[in-house]
Symmetry: C2
């Protein structure tokens, strides 16, 4: 799911040269000690070229996020009613992983630099927040008019981002070894299992009997029953009957 099935958009060579020069200098002498003038000198271009591609020194560290955000927004905008919304935002999150996985060495380098520089961490947080808002905006639209629609949209968007980043960070900390796609799929499946069943239906509440033997909760059209495995079957059925009003 995370592997790149389409070629990345062509990027101007000057832009790539600026990114390469910036990272070389950040690693050699440190991020704070590197100026935009140093970067353009090493890349052999003028100062104006830098600001044509990047609003600030922070942005050269995250050169592909704007493109990825645009891709995610377009992906979500192209959704239809046939798309289960929680699955859809999980698929949207996989676009971010794909960007990181396309260039493991660069992603690992950036992760190391970002962890060391507070200003870059703050910048990265604002980028992550923009992804989360894009996911939440889509879900708010899908859940519009439903009870707790914006609440559920915000919570699910945050859960998707947290799950994605949990797997992504593990991979980056392991120096990009292994398959990040499998780890992210596992993490996102966890979120989907939690939310996909109830997100599109009226909220279903789950209770447990006081002795843990089992109990059932009802809602408009979904019944959720939680039971200990060792509870007697007759008790579980009786609980179920009472909730279904069939006793």
């Amino acid at each position: 799911m995370s592997s790149s099935s389409t070629a990345p958009a062509a990027r101007p060579p000057i832009r790539d040269a600026l990114v390469a020069a910036a990272f070389r200098l950040f690693l050699d002498r440190g991020y704070e000690q590197t100026t935009v003038d140093d970067i353009v000198a090493l890349a052999g271009v003028g100062r104006r070229s830098f600001f044509r591609y990047f609003p600030s020194k922070e942005d050269v560290v995250f050169p592909d996020h704007e493109g990825c955000l645009a891709e995610m927004t377009a992906f979500l905008a192209a959704s239809g009613p046939e798309h289960e919304p929680v699955r859809r935002v999980c698929d949207a999150a996989r676009l971010v992983l794909r960007m990181y996985a396309e260039n493991p060495a660069f992603s690992v380098q950036r992760y190391r630099i970002t962890r060391r520089v507070p200003g870059l961490r703050a910048h990265e947080l604002s980028v992550v927040r923009r992804y989360e808002r894009a996911l939440a905006a889509y879900l708010r639209d899908r859940f519009a008019g439903r009870p707790d629609g914006t609440l559920r949209a915000d919570v699910i968007a945050a859960a998707v981002v947290a799950a994605h980043n949990n797997a992504l960070r593990s991979w980056l900390r392991a120096d990009g070894a292994g398959d990040p796609g499998a780890a992210v799929d596992h993490a996102l499946d966890h979120v989907q299992r939690t939310y996909a069943r109830t997100a599109d239906a009226p909220a279903a509440a789950v209770w447990a009997g006081p002795d843990g033997s089992g109990a059932a909760g009802r809602d408009e059209d979904v019944v959720v029953l939680v039971s200990r495995r060792d509870a007697p079957l007759w008790r579980v059925v009786r609980e179920l009957e009472s909730v279904l009003d069939r006793s």
Copy 2:
């Protein structure tokens, strides 16, 4: 739950005077146009006094977060095995709400300024992230050694923060009208209902039958069954039996 049951710690009057002067100037002439020198002049204190209390101009906007973070960390550190972990992090999040609710006028003012100034929004994101990390660290400890322990810890911490902030922001956007405690309680209950049942038990998977009639998932010692209300009872029981290996 969100009302203040204990008096806030005494704060030095100079600190309060600096905050009051800063907000007055931010509202009158804008945040970017206000310098630390302007603030200390209006407060009638020296420049060194400012930096005794605040590392930077950003921090004067969020004067109570450091104290609240310390309070949250102490609250979580004082937890025992008797505390259900998801409930505990929800209660920890209520400490943040209490700080906002203690001074509605100030909180609403700050919200308006923060929304207008990108640098302040970035600073606020980093503060929110620190709360989230504190919650996640506690949950990682509680879930240590369990399958997907760190994943679930990170996801639940993010869900708690998102739910809390959803309710908090609604209240701030409504100019601090109404009871923010009730709204935050409602939002956090939503997270607790989603996670508290399974968070402390082995992960319980939920499936639905291909025709939506109902299906059951099994785990070590918990069975979760999801069914449409209109499914025939005999089918639901048969599904349940097959999962419980009692057929």
